[in-house]
Amino acid sequence: MMTSVGTSRRSLLAASAATAATGLAVTGCGSDDDGESSSKRKPGEKIQMTFWAWVPGIDKAVDLWNKQNPEIQVRLEKVSPHNSAQYAKMHSALKAGNPPDLAQVEYMNIPEFLLEKGLVELSEYGADKQKDKFVGWQWEQVVYDGGVYAVPQASGPMGLFYREDLYSKWNVEPPATWDDFEAAAKKIRKQGAYIDTFPASMGPWLAGLAWQAGAEWFRTEGDAWKVAIDSEPTRRVAEFWEGLVRQKLVKTLPVMQSPWYSALQSSDVVSWVSAQWGDALISGNAAKTKGKWRVAPMPQWKKGAGASANWGGSTTAVFSGAKHPQEAMDFAVWLNTDPKSIDLLIAGGYGWPAAKKGFEGSRLDRPSDFFGGQKYNDVFAASDKAVDTSWKWGPTTVAMINHMTDALTDAINSKGSFTDAMKTVQKQVIADMRDKGLKVEAA
């Protein structure tokens, strides 16, 4: 029904109003059957659960579960992760009262689902006992108000991908601090290339950088939210990147889109501050640069501080209305902790395991030809351990990212300051949250 709104161009006025309205009507009808339907599985009873996810290769892990658990079958449905289409689908399904039993939900989108009462609190089913199996900060990402609302799956500890061949040819060291990064950017620019790009549309990336600088954009205090997007650490990050953009030391291309891939292939852009899962994107889209890339730790604000951050990451969440929440949670825990399952997920390229022991001995834990024989994931393993655990996301993430894209693009186009842009975003986010009927104030 989303596409019907889109493709109804040039239809009659009447028809257009109807499609626009049906879209809302379908998504708007009641969700009366929440919760009441959950039941205990009788021994020997066969059940089937639906699971919405998008990471490549997850079908293999689900197949393995189905083979091992003939009575508890999981039916995987792939959803599109583009432009938050998956969340539109999930929220619509929740509203319409026919959500899946389980779905992949990114860490940053969990509070949005809490607001809609979309997720099952899992400590009732023993989730709190699973805490020790997961990396500390990742576990904290699924805990809200003392409740456990999902099972961690994967994350994106950050580091710096760089072209070792060009760096050494141009006599550039991998930058240890952000000051070094700027100096390196100047050197690289003199060679006609760019050190990196500033992607205005990547709010979560910028959040990662602010996270590293010590920002805490959201926290709750009692029944009120405190928003600190417009804060000292964020301002420092915003000013730094604005400086690079104004001096034309970085491109402003959107990353993970064809223009950027072509810039990687032609060595126009020679490094990328990114998450661990960036490895697959580089090797998959610039295959001819094989052997020339390396990974270095993220540049630091204070030399040797070892501060890290995260970009991306998902959970497996049980949706309200799931008929068998216990079995759903058991599956989610198995999916994200069983070594064989993790192996299959890693092979598919799902990111960085949330399970504590997921990395050791896996295929990530060995030298890579693409990265010139470097055991590059050691960098990310250290990065994952150094991520600040106190970071929380707000309840309007998708809208926040949109605001950020709009404000930063405006700033780039009309030369307004990036710090003002972040101020604008904070105001908009607070207004959004108030519209949701929440108590909120600037921290």
Binding site: R10, A88, S92, Q257
Partner: protein
Amino acid sequence: MARSRLHSSRNRAAVGFLLPFCVLFLATFIAPICYALYQSLFKVERSGALGLGGETEVFAGLSNYTHALEDSQFLEGFARVLLFGVVQVPVMILLATVLALLLEAASARGVVFFRTAFFLPYGVPGVIASILWGFLYVPGISPFVEMFHSAGFDVNFLSEGNLLWAIANIVTWEFTGYNMLILISQLKAVPDELYEAARIDGANAWQVAIRIKLPLIRPALVLTTVFSIIGTLQLFSEPLVLKPLTGNIDTGYTPNVHAYNEAFQSNNYNVAAAEAVLLALVACVLSFGFMRLVGRRGKVGDE
């Protein structure tokens, strides 16, 4: 007696034929509109920071409408599509008219081929057309950008200033042939005797086109223009598809995109419903306004 019985059985038959239409009309047209109107008058209130304390739907009066009308992005979106329409619609209709007149006048071979060729883009779904053109716009991939570049011009089709016209180009490409076909079909309906009479009176081809053909296809011109005005207000898939390729398409680029984001990205269904109602109203006012405008002028001309 016999006549009235015939009448009533005919009526019954008519009702029988109309019933499926009426049911569908009510279910798919009237009901959703009522539901959208209803939704636009409510809002959700929550308790607790995470909303875990529960939510209630409360009557909001017109606050969703004021919310929408106070949103500068939403209003800018309207201004943008209006600017778009003022430029793109006349260009496209003019182009379609010229093509229709040419193809109708030409007696040479290839007319059918050209007619089909011009109509073909309409068969390409809007999303696909946008992806296709997107690749022709993106620097680093587009042969056009490359061509301009080697000729010494630095063109960026997706820059803030050019973007709207890059989209106008896609829309024109998609719909010119479609409008042309409507105009041609009306031209076909003009009896040959009229042309013959004109020729006997000494009118040349140009005069026939201006004095006879154009006035006679007036209804088709009005129709295609109204469709185009509505289409402009509905602008949706093109900006949505191009969005990832450029940072310059914001959340409120067009009113439709704004309502979509409000509903499916921010989960504010009530505000989105209000915006959809406002959009429908504006479309209504503009298309009926246009019809009245040309209708009145037509009458003045007749007198």
